[in-house]
Amino acid sequence: MSIRILTLCLAMIVAVAGQVQAQQGPLRIEITEGVIEPLPFAVPSFQPESAEAGQLANDLARVVAQDLIGTGLFREIPASAFISTVSDFNAEVQYADWKAINAQALVTGAVNVSGSNLTVKFRLYDVFSGAELGDGLQFSGTTDGWRRMAHKVADAVYSRITGESGYFDSRVVYVSETGPKDARKKRLAIMDYDGANVQFLTDSSAIVLAPRFSPSGDRVLYTSYESGFPRIYVLDIGSVQRRVLESADGTMSFAPRFSPSGQTVVFSLTQGGNTDIYTMDINSGQSVRLTNTPSIETAPSFSPDGSKIVFESDRSGTQQLYVMPATGGEATRISFGQGRYGTPVWSPRGDLVAFTKQNAGRFHIGVMRLDGSEERLLTASFLDEGPTWAPNGRVIMFARETQGAGGSSTLYSVDISGRNLRPVPTPEGGSDPSWSPLQK
């Protein structure tokens, strides 16, 4: 069950002499609230540059295409419509042939495999301007990291065309579930954001809840009942070794999250029936109490600059969202709409908080600004909960449980505009997703 260590080096390659200076103009998607016509693109199978590269050359192109299609912003022109093919990565592109089939963006690539070494090159063309968009790039690594290279290509294409940073070279840790509601088996799992490369990190002998990535993507905090009581554990993904974060006998601890520095854990601790928020230094184990009220305080989440914490509290009578300094102190309420608000998560861009809202018997995933304004509900169902942000702050993943005795939980992703709701493929049911930062 070991995790591969990937070495990727980026090397710039200069655009081939004679090509027109790349321009930023027409090949652009502005991600706005308005209706978007998906941008048509083509990704011909990449050029194999060595005898062993044929299969990967095709597979890489397919993963790049799937990443772009999955955003809901791009539409693929299939190979069956191509007038010409790209037989030489370095040759001039026959723009007329791609214009004729309305492929506004063209991605070409070349793949070299020698033993377990893999090199991938790509170029992005703005077809209607008749020029490259940005410089070609080359990635080197090992063959077992091929999917990550495809994601890096797609991230570069996506960011050049949208102006946003990408999110495809990322992973998701979540709870994998099987069985009926009264005998649910849960275990921790980790996968690529698109569902590939699933690995299980625990067995299902004890209830595990809400795993959360560290900012460096190498550790996971989670809650487990393996001791008979909810306790927080930190697991190293590479070694799959875990240790408990101690809390006193008679207490329960849960809902942990890392600070942006990775050195502090913020969490909930219940003592004498009362639940408050604490932080703990992950090395020394020293903990600090941040709230001290008879109400329930839980589900804390740090701001990306580490200066503030958003959390939920029922001090007003129902669950609402509050923001306080990361050192504790006065909390300001930010949610005021009809219903109850919980599971707040601060966007990695710092501009929004995602949350679960319950109102009139329905659950919603929503976003609002940190002053509580511009609240927008993105989904509605019997039971949606537990949002997590993609690394670029433009997409949210969450869990949807269905109604009734036969109900089960599925992971979904949705754009922050509310568009492009789609299920995330997992081998079993899934809940409590946590999205990693973009991998380096």
Binding site: Y225, G228, M252, T298, Q319, E385
Partner: protein, 174 residues
């Protein structure tokens, strides 16, 4: 009412039974002498729900659980009566400890439900302490919405899931 009437009867019959079957008070409380005990002590099968010292009696005759309204952790009058019985049983059977499990229905987010379950379990514990059960004999845990016993998605099931269950541990028979 029943309990008060049967206790003196039990004491008398137990006194008799001890002479004839000393093993009945040992670790084996499973009714090894059930046949003879039946004849001697008026039909009370040791370890069964009719044996006031057994966990089965606690669970089935007194009731091992109390229910809560949506979002609430305060005890209903019915709940308090059940807990009066639980407290009395624990005081009469000092070899047992209890873990009080708090639960919530699925109509809520995961973390909040863990905290709500904890409130419920603690409400039970505090009530029992007020009835004289030593706090050191009781621990609390919350399962939030993770362990429903009824799985339909309407109030008839939800009501049964919003519960605090007193689970016995220890004792001569464990």
């Amino acid at each position: 009412m029943n309990r008060i009437l049967t206790v003196p009867l039990l004491i008398a019959t137990l006194g008799l039974a001890a002479c004839t079957d000393p093993a009945r008070f040992g670790a084996d409380g499973t009714g090894a002498g059930a046949g003879s005990a039946n004849a001697l002590n008026g039909g009370i099968v040791p370890g069964s729900a009719s044996d006031p010292t057994s966990p089965a009696y606690f669970q089935q005759t007194i009731g091992d659980r109390v229910l809560f309204a949506v979002d609430q952790s305060n005890l209903t009058p019915e709940g308090q009566i059940t807990l009066d019985g639980q407290a009395q049983w624990l005081l009469s059977n000092p070899d047992y400890q209890a873990v009080i499990e708090g639960h919530a229905d699925e109509q809520g987010t995961r973390e909040y439900n863990v905290a709500l379950g904890a409130r419920r379990a603690n409400a039970v514990r505090e009530y029992m302490v007020s009835k004289g059960v030593p706090g050191s004999r009781m621990r609390v845990v919350s399962y939030g919405k993770e362990r429903p016993i009824e799985i339909c998605s309407d109030e008839s099931c939800y009501a049964k899931n919003r519960r605090a269950v007193t689970v016995l541990a220890g004792g001569l028979t464990s």
